[in-house]
């Protein structure tokens, strides 16, 4: 019964914050790592940590931390791994900004794993203090790094 309640609470939390998990996973997908596998790894790690979540921070901060840690530490010995559960088919997007979104991801793929984490939190409008707390760097360093990555993205976009 208790496990069922926990599961229901977890599913509710997941439904409300699914967007975060998908966005984080999409930042770390490449030809060897499918978004499905990353998504599932994140969900499993969230489920593992859920019983010990003491609400010392907001749900969103907790989810960002676990999702980013999962993606940053994700590595495969072989690219041939089965996906546990197929989540959903790729949604073909027919928008004018399709090319621009593709460019966004192409540039992001050229960044290092930590840089991606930083830039994702910036794009998600998280306060610098929260970014510093999640990343494990000072607030000054957050600001410096973001400015450097801005220049780097500009260069990558030109090339």
């Amino acid at each position: 019964m208790e496990k069922q309640n926990l599961e229901t609470e977890f599913l509710d939390m997941l439904r409300n914050h699914n967007r975060i998990i998908y966005k984080v996973a999409s930042f770390y997908t490449d030809e060897n790592t499918s978004i499905d596998d990353l998504y599932q790894d994140v969900v499993l790690n969230l489920w593992k940590a859920f019983p010990n979540f003491r609400r010392e921070s907001q749900f969103s901060t907790w989810i960002y931390r676990i999702a980013l840690n999962t993606c940053v530490s994700f590595f495969r010995r072989s690219s041939k791994r089965p996906t546990f559960v197929k989540t959903m088919p790729e949604i073909k997007v027919e928008t004018e900004e399709n090319e621009a979104i593709a460019e966004l991801y192409a540039c992001i793929n050229k960044l290092g794993k930590l840089e991606r984490a930083l830039i994702l939190l910036y794009l998600e409008d998280r306060p610098y203090k929260e970014i510093a707390d999640i990343m494990g760097i000072t607030t000054t360093n957050v600001s410096t790094k973001i400015n450097r990555i801005k220049d780097k993205l500009k260069q990558l976009s030109k090339n």
Binding site: E7, N45, S73, F84, M88, E97, L104, L114, D133, G136
Partner: protein, 204 residues
Amino acid sequence: MELDKFKELWNEIDVLKEKQQISDEKIKEMLKNKGKTTLSKLIRMAKFSMFAMIPLGILLCFFSHEFFTAGGYYIICPLAFLFVCIVMTPFEIYLYRFLKAIDFSRMTIREVSERILKYQNLVRMAQMYGTIFFFIYLGTWYYLFYRLTIGAEIVWVVIITLGTFYLIMGLVAIPFLYKKLYYKHINRIKESLNELKEFENNNH
């Protein structure tokens, strides 16, 4: 493209992702795979290695039982290898505890990144030294086996076969394994470590 322009696009992607709600049944199916996260698999492998070292050493001894029968300095060969396996056990215990200490919900991205990179580095080095050790083991085993059986005609076929196999291992398999297991991955690890170092600079 400016990062602010990226931010506008990012909010549009938001709208698209809202449509991608995964069903509760699929999530429940995922939750059944609780022990199959990347980190859990690494911990399980480390636990297995922790317990497998000493039995491996005993097995290496078992395959060298002729040396025990022969007595004298021949005994040093299997015992030396058992000793190496015993010495490796604390290293495997260290790796297991190192991984177990990783907590995604409490550690920062920098801390987790550092730990995982350190782990990958250690494993790659262990694989490299392990391969060299195994090569030396085969060579020593082969040489002493030849010394013990010298004079027995029928054994020449075995000796030549083993010798050929050993040469193939040394000249082809070891460099190939080195490149596949170690060299390619260690460069990637080094790049990530450099990124981490860069992040730690100016962190005051």
